[in-house]
């Protein structure tokens, strides 16, 4: 087992150049954005003199490669700069927002699985029959609905009309977070379900037709027990990689959703920083998202390895 997991350190080392690439792209992109941060910070009433002074203070008057060099050397010291707008270390700001977004993402994924697994099972046990067609129509509609619209609809129905959930915000305690994040997580979760259902439905159909399920039936296994022991884990294997890919999109989707639900996560932070040309914050958030995607990739491989004992990612010959 441990031997099969030895691919993880290798993956971590391989991730370093990827992260560097991300920093470079992030840095260049921020500087290609139209608009000058000094003007944005100082507002309409700035004079050319104050703007020039601020540009010197922020280091914006230096050549761009100097700025990048400085950025990277600071990065190694755990210093991502000071936010132009908040006048606080960016690391502090981002670290405060990370848990919010991560819980939102984990929460959405959980809700998506709670919805998708039974629906996929319902569809796969009667392919091309009534209930399968209903589920397939749901996946079509689910794929067609824009996330922000679903979010607003959920707010209208569950928050404004039924008053079951808050309209927005994040709450203060862990339980409150769970309560406040329900609607945004559901919104993101619903967006994830069509992909998961499709993948899980087709792999479940394959697994149900397999000989080992016939074997399980010949041992008297049936219903939920059969599903839990002999179908779900096997059918989940291809779906894991599908989910891994969609996690990147989920973070992207959370930008809009955090805005809709006024959640103080990375998405809101990113959006505000873009409006104020707060380069250090933009860089830090994007850097984190890059790290997140790389991390999810490794996590996907890990899950894969844990689910399927036949998978060996170490590249060595099986002993």
């Amino acid at each position: 087992m441990l031997q099969r997991l030895s691919f993880i350190p290798v993956r971590l080392i391989q991730a370093i150049p990827v992260v560097f690439g991300v920093t470079l792209v992030v840095f260049l992109m921020a500087h290609l954005l139209p608009g000058d941060p000094a003007t944005a910070i100082l507002g309409d009433k700035a004079t050319p003199a104050t703007i020039a002074a601020l540009r010197t203070q922020l280091g914006l008057d230096q050549p761009i490669w100097n700025q990048y060099g400085l950025f990277v050397s600071h990065l190694f010291q755990g210093d991502l700069g000071t936010s132009f707008t908040y006048q606080r270390p960016v690391v502090e700001i981002v670290l405060a927002a990370i848990p919010v977004t991560l819980s939102l993402v984990a929460y959405s994924l959980t809700l998506a699985l709670i919805i998708a697994i039974p629906l996929a099972a319902i569809a796969a046990t009667a392919p091309n029959r009534g209930r399968d067609i209903v589920v397939r129509i749901y996946t079509l509609i689910g794929q067609g609905m824009p996330q922000f619209w679903v979010g607003i609809m959920l707010i209208l129905i569950l928050a404004v009309n039924l008053r079951l959930f808050p309209v927005g915000g994040y709450g203060n305690t862990a339980l409150e977070h769970l309560y406040y994040l329900f609607l945004p997580a559901l919104t993101l979760g619903i967006a994830l379900t069509p992909t998961i259902i499709r993948s899980l439905r087709s792999s479940t159909i394959d697994v149900l037709g397999s000989e080992y399920v016939a074997t399980a039936r010949s041992k008297g296994s049936a219903g939920v027990t059969l599903f839990r022991h002999h179908v779900l884990r096997n059918a989940a294997i291809p779906t894991v990689s599908v989910i891994g890919v969609t996690m990147g999109y989920l973070v992207g989707g959370s930008i809009v959703i955090e805005k809709v639900f006024a959640i103080p996560g990375l998405g809101s932070l990113m959006l505000n920083s873009i409006f104020t040309r707060d380069f250090p914050t933009i860089q830090a958030v994007t850097l984190f998202v890059g790290l997140f995607v790389v991390g999810v990739g490794i996590l996907t491989d890990l899950t894969y390895t844990l689910l399927d004992p036949r998978v060996n990612l170490t590249g060595s010959v099986r002993s």
Partner: protein
Amino acid sequence: MSTPLLEVTDLSISVMGSKARTKIVEGVSFSVEAGERFGLVGESGSGKSMTLRSIANLLPGGVTVSSGSILYKGQELIGLQNEKRRRLMGPEIAMVFQEPMTALNPVMRVGEQIAEGPRRYLGLSRSAAMDLAVSMMARTGIPDPKQRAKAYPHQLSGGLRQRVMIAMALSCRPKLLLCDEPTTALDVTVQHQVLRQLEELCEDFGASLVFVTHDLAVVNQTCSKLAVMYAGRIVETGPVKDVFKDPRHPYTQGLLTSAPDFDQPERELIPIPGFPPNLADRPPGCEFAPRCRYAQADCTSLQPRLLPVEPGRNSACLHTEEIFPGVLV
């Protein structure tokens, strides 16, 4: 005479095609006594596997029993409530599949897979069921069973995997073991060992065996009685020794003369010409007539019935008497 353990009468199985139902098994009848080892022989597509699967209620989607009866210990299985039928699977009837690689769950340790049935039916705890699994593995001749129980199917060789299947099938001490070509995927030496083991265990556990295969040598080694199937029908039944020595149906004769025999390596192999019929478009009369070297005019118009040709032997040929002289009808 006591009730046979398994009695299949006039069983027909059909598959739903894109346009019409096609009968893939028609009018199959046979019975298996307690402790008996029964072979069901035929080439691919003869309906032998489907017959076997219908007993275990494991027909693939779109394939159904259209008529007939399957009595197990006198109890009708066709139309029996699914739940009641499921409860028979394991402690009464068990099955060994052809390809142990695909028939074992690839993501579950083999010990757990064997322990599953005993936990369900014998009410054993997890560790007691695991102990039973290990002892079953030892009985099927798996070396170092305690270690091997922790292995996944892909870590075992073909022979060991099939032994795991056998251990799994016998773990709840079934009275009837259904084997669907259990040794086809194995090489000949391993095949021989596995068959030996299977025979011994069935003897020890007092289980009857229904053994489906296309390999005549395997039937000869394992079974006492057999039925030969062709195009979804039984064409000949009888004790294995007698049928091998002295077949009473041209198809059986064709099978025997087309297979090599180690005792007579010099003997010329005579292939059966042609192909099995398309079951959706059966020829009129005897299905074997187009390939039969003894076929006469009436063979293509009259459907032969399976009739006794000798005590304990039946054949479905209109001209058994002329082709195989000395037959009492």
